[in-house]
Amino acid sequence: MRDEHHRFSRQQLFAPIGEGGQIKLSEASVLIVGMGALGTVLANHMVRAGVGNLRIVDRDFVEWSNLQRQMLYDEEDARHSLPKAIAAKHKLERIYSGCRIDAHVSDVTPGNIGELMDGVTLVLDGTDNFQTRYLLNDACFQKGIPFVYGGAVSSRGMSAPFLPGDTCCLRCLLPESAGDGDGQTCDMIGVISPIIDIVASFQVVEGLKILVGDLERVRRSLLSWEIWDYHTYEMKLPAPRPECPSCGRREFPALQEGGSDVAMMCGRDTVQIQGKRPLDLELWKLKLQDAGEVSANPYLLRVQLIEGERLVLFPDGRVLVQGTEDPIRAKTLYARYIGM
């Protein structure tokens, strides 16, 4: 018991946190969106630091190519194609049983973001796309919740904290019209694991300051790194823009969008279709047994189709069509096997 009592002693000896900060951490409620490379590092730090409540959300399952950098997963998880949120919850509970972990195998959409952010005091970005980041940004600035951005690809990465009512928001810094995602994803040009740890660790530093209430010392800048051909740069966050549709005009465009039912998973050779109804996996296992080779775990059902593509069904109604980047082909297969 005595040893257990001391598990946060080194962190409490660190004066800016102290015993008071430790109590605040135990009362905190943190949302991490995306449990890929950044998300697993973020969650590991949050849980080890003694955060009392952690909500994690991810739509994907563990694959072998994740193990090089997604530090909470192991070969068992990949072998069983466990959803990342579930595999992460299992591992995190073994690290610190005192943290209540609320895991969601789901996409983050304008429809469910309100519920996911309910009671949350900090949002950490573990996503792999800007569409979701703008959604998180808008929801955070609407509700006044701090949001810490991080991104990494190849040997490059960056991070910035956004504090509603204090700093600018992500849209002020980078308007949605600034440019397109340019195919520079981890699945296209790769990524090395140290840039992940660097970016996520810097997100955690600002996150801890926010959670213990040391807002004065939150770094108000965007840090960026190129770690192979070494270059690092710190850019002061600009003032909030009065004409910003999010923090200025408070229109929060990402919360208004209906959201498309078809999403490309960039560089993944995968199209995701969000169905309107939940899917009973037991039932679909029987229905699809003649469509190809079916394999299942409690969280998803996979069908290797005779056409060559693969369907992955989730109970929340999502279907991944793997082996194509053509949304029309994906919808055709969806219509053929699941029905529109």
């Binding site: 573990g126 800007f130 600034a178 440019g179 340019d182």
Partner: protein, 65 residues
């Protein structure tokens, strides 16, 4: 023209900031550009004239995670 781009000295054929972005094939991408520590709004990229020795930082936003 001799410039410092992302911390490295570079010889770039450029009259305005937009030329530097084109040189590095970053036009139309998710980039924030700074000259000597000041963010330059995208709408001004074609108007901002460059002078020898300017320090330009092209911050190319990273989407992966």
């Amino acid at each position: 023209m001799k410039l410092t781009v992302n911390g490295k000295s570079a010889e770039v054929e450029a009259a305005v900031l937009g030329d530097v972005l084109r040189h590095y094939e970053l036009e139309g991408k998710m980039v924030v550009a700074e000259i000597d520590g000041n963010i330059i709004d995208k709408s001004a990229w074609e108007q901002i004239g460059l002078t020898e020795g300017m320090r330009i930082e092209l911050v190319h936003f990273v989407g992966g995670g």
